[in-house]
């Protein structure tokens, strides 16, 4: 091939690179890694070394941690279908004629997300819950022209953190509304004495359930949005939608969520799946990819990315979102998983999780020194107050074989470090919960 190019060495291909910049010596990438690399066997052994230095959930630590990442099941059917190499090794479906597989799967994904949210239109995925929230706020600002955001403190702390990192540069400001006994204290009359001061918000953000697992009064949030003509953004848990009212039914304008519980392993936090749905009249402001159904030249049904004019590659600096690569494979996974569950399965895992969580909280709160952190009704996650710092309990419980939960951020617990957030999914059995309660009783005394 070199001779075809009239060259003698591969080096000559790089003649455009100034001599001075070119690397002379071999780079040292990692201790113990030879320059010529490792064989597959050695790579697997090396990577297995990391894997064995972790304590995964399962036999070695029964998972009671949630906080936005849940130990839910996925059947082998979901895994094996989502692993098909046609899905795994294709690019964004720019050529619809050879990408009907991915496109139709995304179309079906969009359909399930609208069903879960009770809204009209879903995009083809965003990175994660946090990025979905950020995009929702951008949309609200673009629609309302107002840059102030009222955000419930019950929204996932990390999502709020991401919003506070990403948005101020675009002159968007966030104001946090505190929780009272687990639910947002909504100002009743906007601009009134009892309400929040100043600028009218472009967006109101609330989580359902919220970070403490509690069920917020979304109707109140809707009323406030109506009063202020703000966009109401509801952060939702897709599994809860098996039994809870949908954001759409509560009047949300935008619903965002974390899709991980729909068939993705915990994965140390990623790849996850940002869920995003909104009203049809906001379609042209939708961030991210959108797949539409159309026809091919012979009139057969066909799918294609549509409303592309919104996107960064066309609108460039005038785009309201920069998303390009999203989480397509996770969206396909979710579509498969929801197909496996169906309405009945989703309702059943939601129901079981709720029942198990309530059982668990009752048992825990029967222990000396343990009590509920807040009184609001909850779905399948709840916070308790411990007699000793939560982190100590978490550490000790790990030795007992349990991932006990997550410390409630002191900002949500009047500065205390003794709050523990516990999630109970449909996978937890009576024996596991009873074992957990017994172990916790042991470590707190």
């Amino acid at each position: 091939m070199l001779s075809f190019l009239g060259l003698r060495t591969l080096e000559e291909l790089y003649s455009a690179i100034p001599e001075a910049l070119r690397l002379g010596a071999e780079l040292e990438l990692l201790d113990g890694l030879p320059a010529e690399g490792l064989s597959e066997t050695e790579v697997m052994a090396w990577m297995d070394g990391y894997a064995r230095a972790n304590i995964p959930v399962g036999r070695s630590s029964v998972c009671f941690a949630g906080g936005g990442a849940y130990d839910r099941g996925a059947p082998s059917a979901t895994r094996s279908l989502a692993q098909r190499s046609e899905f795994v090794t294709s690019y964004t479906p720019y050529q619809p004629e050879v990408a009907q597989g991915v496109l139709q799967a995304l179309f079906e994904y969009q359909t399930t997300v609208t069903a879960l949210t009770g809204l009209d239109i879903s995009n083809a995925s965003l990175y994660d819950g946090a990025s979905a929230l950020v995009e929702a706020i951008r949309l609200a600002v673009a629609v309302t022209g107002r840059t102030a955001v009222l955000c419930s403190q019950g929204v996932h702390p990390a999502w709020r953190d991401v919003a506070c990192t990403a948005l101020p540069a675009a002159s968007i400001s966030l104001e946090m509304l505190p929780l009272r006994d687990g639910a947002t204290a909504w100002p009743t009359g906007y601009g009134d004495a009892g309400g929040v001061p100043g600028e009218r918000p472009g967006a109101i953000v609330v989580s359902y359930p919220n970070y403490l697992g509690c069920l917020e009064d979304i109707a109140a949030a809707r009323r406030l949005a109506d009063e202020t003509l703000a966009i109401l953004i509801v952060c939702f848990d897709p599994v809860a939608m098996g039994i809870l009212r949908s954001p759409g039914s509560w009047g949300a304008d935008v619903a965002v969520g974390e899709g991980q519980p729909l068939g993705m392993p915990l994965s140390f936090g990623g790849p996850y799946l940002g869920l995003f749905a909104t009203r049809m009249d906001l379609a042209r402001k939708l961030p991210g990819r959108l797949v539409g159904k159309t026809e091919d030249i012979d009139g057969r049904p066909a799918f294609v990315m549509t409303l592309r004019a919104r996107e960064q590659d066309i609108r460039r600096e005038r785009a309201t979102s920069n998303v390009c690569t999203n989480q397509t494979l996770m969206a396909i996974t979710a579509a498969i998983q929801l197909g496996w569950l169906g309405p009945g399965g989703l309702a059943e895992i939601a129901r079981r999780s709720a029942v198990a969580a309530h059982y668990c909280r009752d048992e825990l709160c029967a222990l000396d020194g343990v009590r509920p952190l807040v009184g609001a009704p909850f779905f399948d996650e709840f916070a308790i107050t411990l007699p000793i710092p939560a982190q100590i309990v978490i550490d000790r419980m790990l030795e007992e074989g349990y991932l006990a939960g997550i410390q409630v951020p002191p900002e949500l617990n009047t500065g205390s470090d003794k709050g523990l957030l516990i999630a109970v999914t449909e996978r937890r059995t009576l024996a596991e919960i009873d074992g957990f309660v017994a172990a916790l009783a042991k470590v707190i005394c």
């Binding site: 490792l38 697997m44 294709s90 479906p93 009907q100 990175y127 990623g270 790849p271 996850y272």
Partner: protein
């Protein structure tokens, strides 16, 4: 691939059919109303498909047969680096000790993950000549925004410092809404060949995008750049090789210009596959680099993601990296989390697309430094072979060796024979290949951007070139049915999709 059509899963749905089964959990049963106040309970179930596992598997397997992919053949989509990815990376991502780890587990349960991320950070820093990295961004575009927010925080802190104000701390880090006002730097320069995410990210970071044109060599027009660069420029954002597949030879001069004016140099690493082990962005003068692990570091693209867009920075930006980030603790024995002093904050719900990060490290281990250099060498060799081979049948706008990809033009074909870039692309689909990227970069008319990647053999390149030559010698007949005609569906009516929006069903 499968012709015909496939109903949607909802169309296959029959009430009462079910695939799911759940383990017995032995919990005492209890009416849900005793847990959850009735006003919160939905009065109907979401409209999801009801199918058997058999129907589910049949459906998605058939869909997979309506999808082209790298594993099925060549995918020379320019700017996307659609290389073959070694299969063991799938097994890495499936290791239970990696996949089944909760992101909020205490440090003693995640020592492996923390070490893994630190190791990849080290390797990538060495590879691009940077001092530290964040793996939070989930894709390239997220990396761009992250990098630009750091640029912003850096300037704000510098300004604060130079004004003798209280530098450091969260305030500067967060680069609040008024950040650039105070630093006086409101612009970011990008070349006209830039990828669309670049200008979009610039705007989202609160900057004004200033476009500089390319010159006749396909590189940044130095004179125009000189003119554009002033004290109000926060950064110059480039990719090198650029999106024309050409190396910006004046990169040292560009860096000098930028730095002299106090601007930072940002590297869009989407094209790193061309230069691994040959030249480092850090040595070219870049201050911030984002990489697309899903391109260069061989994560299969998943039909459009997940990706991973880590941002690597030089020493002086280290303090602004998002947090928390993994680090070896003082004792040198244990890993933990730390938040950089002037961190811009979080950019992901958790720690980024961790399993993609694991794949990338496995890829680095497999190749080693020499292997990675070979990757680039072959990628460049393949692109040049294609360039040379197609010189006679297409136009090659810039008459110089390319790097890992080559932009050719169908402009003459269009005027002579009525064959547009789109026609060429659609016909290539019929020939069993994926199409190149078309109409990008915007500055080349009827552009076809071909990135063969290092994993395609000479035989495949020959077959691809032959197909392109066959197409170039054809014409578009007025009444003939447009290509493609052998694909799962024929030419798709995109206009109709936008006109009659049908986005669920």
């Amino acid at each position: 691939m499968n012709r015909g059509s496939e109903p949607t899963l909802l169309e296959l749905s029959v009430p009462g059919r079910q695939a799911w089964s759940l383990q017995r959990n032995e919990l005492p049963d209890r009416p849900i109303e005793s847990c959850i106040p009735p006003e919160h309970l939905a009065d109907h179930r979401p409209r999801l498909p009801e199918v058997s596992e058999r129907d589910l598997v049949g459906h998605f397997t058939r869909l997979s047969h309506r999808q082209y992919s790298v594993d099925l053949g060549s995918y020379p989509l320019g700017s996307c680096t659609m290389k073959y990815n070694p299969k063991f990376a799938d097994e890495v991502a499936a290791l239970r000790g990696l996949a089944d780890v909760h992101p909020a587990a205490p440090e003693q349960a995640i020592q492996g993950w923390l070490a893994l991320v630190c190791d990849l950070e080290k390797a990538l820093c060495s590879l691009v000549g940077m001092a530290g990295a964040t793996f939070q961004p989930a894709a390239g575009a997220a990396g761009e925004l992250t990098g630009l927010l750091m640029v912003r925080a850096f300037h704000a802190a510098g300004e604060a410092r130079s004004r003798g104000g209280a530098a450091g701390g969260g305030a500067a880090g967060r680069g609040g809404g008024s950040g650039h006002a105070s630093s006086g730097r409101t612009k970011v320069i990008i070349p006209d060949s830039a990828h669309g995410t670049n200008p979009a990210s610039v705007t989202l970071a609160g900057y004004e995008a200033v476009t500089v044109p390319s010159d006749t060599r396909g590189c940044v027009d130095l004179a125009a750049l000189r003119e554009a660069i002033a004290g109000d420029v926060a950064a110059v954002m480039l990719t090198n090789p650029n999106t024309l597949g050409l190396f910006e030879e004046d990169i040292a001069e560009i860096a000098r210009l930028a730095h002299n004016r106090g601007a930072l140099l940002y590297y869009d690493g989407a094209n790193l596959n061309a230069i691994l082990g040959m030249v480092r962005p850090g040595d070219m003068g870049f201050d911030v680099v984002h990489l697309n692990l899903h391109k260069t570091f061989a994560t299969p693209h998943g039909g459009g993601g997940p990706g991973s867009g880590p941002v690597l920075v030089s020493e002086r930006l280290l303090d602004f990296l998002p947090g928390p980030r993994p680090a070896l603790m003082g004792d040198g024995e244990r890993y933990g989390w730390m938040v950089p002093e002037r961190s811009i904050g979080r950019m992901h719900s958790w720690h980024g697309n961790a399993l993609v990060v694991a794949r990338a490290l496995a890829y680095v281990l497999y190749n080693g430094s020499a292997g990675l250099r070979k990757v680039s060498n072959l990628a460049v060799l393949n692109a040049n072979w294609i360039r040379k081979r197609l010189e006679s049948s297409y136009q090659v706008p810039f008459d110089r060796p390319c790097m890992h990809e080559v932009v050719i033009s169908a402009e003459k074909l269009k005027s002579d024979r009525g064959l547009s870039a789109l026609d060429v692309a659609k016909r290539l689909l019929e020939e069993g290949f994926h199409a190149p990227t078309i109409y990008f970069p915007l500055i080349v008319r009827e552009a076809l951007m071909i990135e063969p990647t290092e994993t395609e053999s000479l035989q495949t390149l020959q077959a691809l070139a032959e197909a392109l030559e066959r197409i170039a010698s054809g014409t578009v007949e007025r009444d003939a049915k447009p290509a493609p005609r052998t694909t799962p569906v024929g030419r798709v009516d995109e206009a109709r999709a936008a006109r009659r929006l049908e986005i669920t069903g």
